[in-house]
């Protein structure tokens, strides 16, 4: 209105930055881990993020979609996204040839409040694809082991073939500095050595002090419900329960309106919400 301004493309938050898929690691049926690196050296060096944040991934020509970062900022250079094949963009992504160009913008969202978490016990509870954002936090905590007290992971999958990051996590079971509890709803293989039963049954296998623990939960809606019950039963403060929400997102930067829950933008104020905030969002009750 007063001073005409031509915005440069650097200021344009919608322009994806060129990147390449350098490796894909099949996980389970229709889920793959994509390792992605920016094309430009300066992007590789400057791209920092917090566990729990997400990026907008473009398969140019098909579209864009949000994905949590599964890798940890403690291991820079490569971004890992664990993606479920489910629609247009993800289909196109799975069909890309090796070394294909993609676009990345971000990181977006609040991520986990690391400053608060540090010095506390961490309880990570994941179901299904919910492991994607929690793996970032898990790796971060293990790489910064001294900053945290106990680290407990509870992860449930439908059966052993549906478990993401299975081998990596099985290794953790042996590791002393983390309590890794894995469970499956049913064991169809007969080879499963860890627990069988829904995630909440794992609570019997860990000692948790609600006063100096933060719980981070991510998974299907129904799992949330039962895990919350379990935590509240154990007198967890609603402020110490963190959850990652999923909503439709078209922009990732708080403009398009789609991810609005009540009056919060999942992309700006979330996707990590503490339970108190979440129940105060009109649409979450």
């Amino acid at each position: 209105m007063s001073d005409a301004h031509n915005y440069t493309s650097d200021e344009n938050p919608y322009l994806p930055k060129p990147a390449r898929i350098i490796r894909t690691l099949p996980q389970i049926l229709d889920h793959q881990l994509f390792q992605i690196r920016f094309e430009k050296e300066e992007m590789i060096n400057n791209f920092t993020y917090r566990p729990g944040q997400f990026v907008m991934l473009s398969v140019i020509g098909t579209g864009e979609a949000p994905f949590s970062i599964s890798s940890s900022p403690t291991r820079p250079g490569i971004i890992e996204l664990c993606v479920r094949r489910i629609g247009h963009v993800t289909n196109a992504l799975f069909k890309l040839p090796p070394n294909a160009p993609v676009g990345i913008r971000g990181p977006y969202g609040n991520g986990f409040p690391l400053d608060k978490l540090e010095g506390n016990n961490l309880l990570l509870v994941a179901g299904g694809l919910g492991m994607a954002p929690l793996r970032s936090l898990l790796r971060y905590a293990l790489d910064n082991r001294s900053k945290f007290k106990d680290v407990i992971l509870m992860y449930g999958a439908r059966n052993p073939d549906d478990m993401l990051f299975k081998y990596e996590l099985l290794e953790l079971i042996e590791q002393p500095d983390v309590k890794c509890l894995l469970t499956v709803d049913t064991d169809n293989s007969g080879m499963w050595k860890a627990h069988v039963g829904v995630v909440t049954t794992l609570f019997d296998h860990a000692e948790i002090d609600p006063n100096n623990t933060y719980a981070a939960i991510c998974g299907p809606e129904i799992m949330f419900k039962y895990v919350l019950e379990e935590l509240l039963k154990r007198n967890f403060s609603k402020n110490r329960i963190l959850m990652s929400l999923e909503r439709n997102m078209q922009c990732g930067v708080g403009k398009c309106g789609h991810c609005m829950v009540g009056y919060k933008y999942t992309c700006l104020d979330g996707p990590i919400f503490n339970y108190w905030d979440a129940i105060n969002l009109p649409e979450m009750v």
Binding site: T62, H88, A92
Partner: protein, 260 residues
């Protein structure tokens, strides 16, 4: 052998308008031909291959006789992706307008005894007989949507077509509302967009040629048209001109509230 997708373009019973839209892509036609391997397009070429498997088959027109049904089922067997093009293929179109009288009866009246030589069935959209992978509606389809669809399909993706009402496009283009300003019987609120509100742009009410939008609130539309003084039979006629076979337009659902 080329690796270009093998395409077939066919018409069942209809005005062939949607196939003509393909031919009307004068500026792009040679590009389309270049990017694909058109195996059969009886309206425009002779000597098509009527047996090979097809990656994508485009079909316009309605099923009104057993011959159409046979042809459709045969094409389904041959095709990886079957695309219904045009309101006739997607919703039954004008031929399916009225389903009150028996076709056989009319046929007798019209053709006399010779009518027995051929059979007719109640006009129905393709989806009544086979699985349809993508529906591009419009009477005729919009060129722009067709080209978008072809580009997406060649890329291995299905196009994302508008899933909102004509009113949205009407307002985006800032046309005065004919329903409000002139009391016209406009079906814009319940018709699926994609035509850029073509009729309102000419000061004409939408007659619903693209068929109903998903979850259209038909009962509210009917109520408001009645308030404007239209008779139930006029409203019903108008509603069922292009998509008489659509579930949402059957009389029962006109009465009930829909998914409020």
């Amino acid at each position: 052998m080329s690796s270009k997708p093998k395409i077939g373009i066919y018409g069942l019973t209809g005005c062939a308008g949607d196939q003509l839209v393909i031919l009307n892509c004068e500026d792009e036609l040679l590009d389309i031909v270049g990017a694909t391997d058109i195996r059969s397009f009886p309206m425009a070429m002779s000597g098509g291959d009527e047996n090979c498997p097809l990656d994508i088959v485009f079909i316009d027109g309605t099923v009104v006789q057993p011959k159409d049904e046979e042809m459709l089922k045969r094409l389904r067997e041959r095709a990886n992706l079957l695309i219904a093009v045009g309101t006739c293929a997607v919703w039954g179109g004008v031929p399916a307008m009225e389903n009150k009288f028996s076709r056989e009866e009319v046929k007798k009246r019209v053709y006399g005894p010779t009518g027995d030589l051929f059979k007719t069935i109640t006009p129905q959209p393709l989806s009544s007989f086979v699985k349809v992978d993508l529906s591009i509606s419009g009477c005729p389809i919009e060129k722009e949507q067709l080209l978008q669809a072809v580009a997406s399909l060649l890329h291995g993706d299905l196009p994302r077509l508008p899933n909102y009402a004509v009113c949205t496009e009407c307002k985006m283009a800032e046309y005065p509302c004919l329903l409000i300003e002139k009391g016209h019987l406009c079906l814009g609120p319940i018709t699926v967009a994609g035509c850029k509100a073509r009729c309102p742009s000419y000061g004409r009410p939408c007659i619903g040629c693209r068929g109903p939008v998903e979850e259209a609130n038909i009962s509210s539309e009917v109520r408001l048209l009645k308030e404007k003084g239209f008779t139930p039979s006029d409203i019903q006629n108008r509603l069922r001109t292009f998509a008489g076979a659509a579930d949402s337009l059957q009389m029962e659902s006109l009465k009930e509230g829909t998914n409020a």
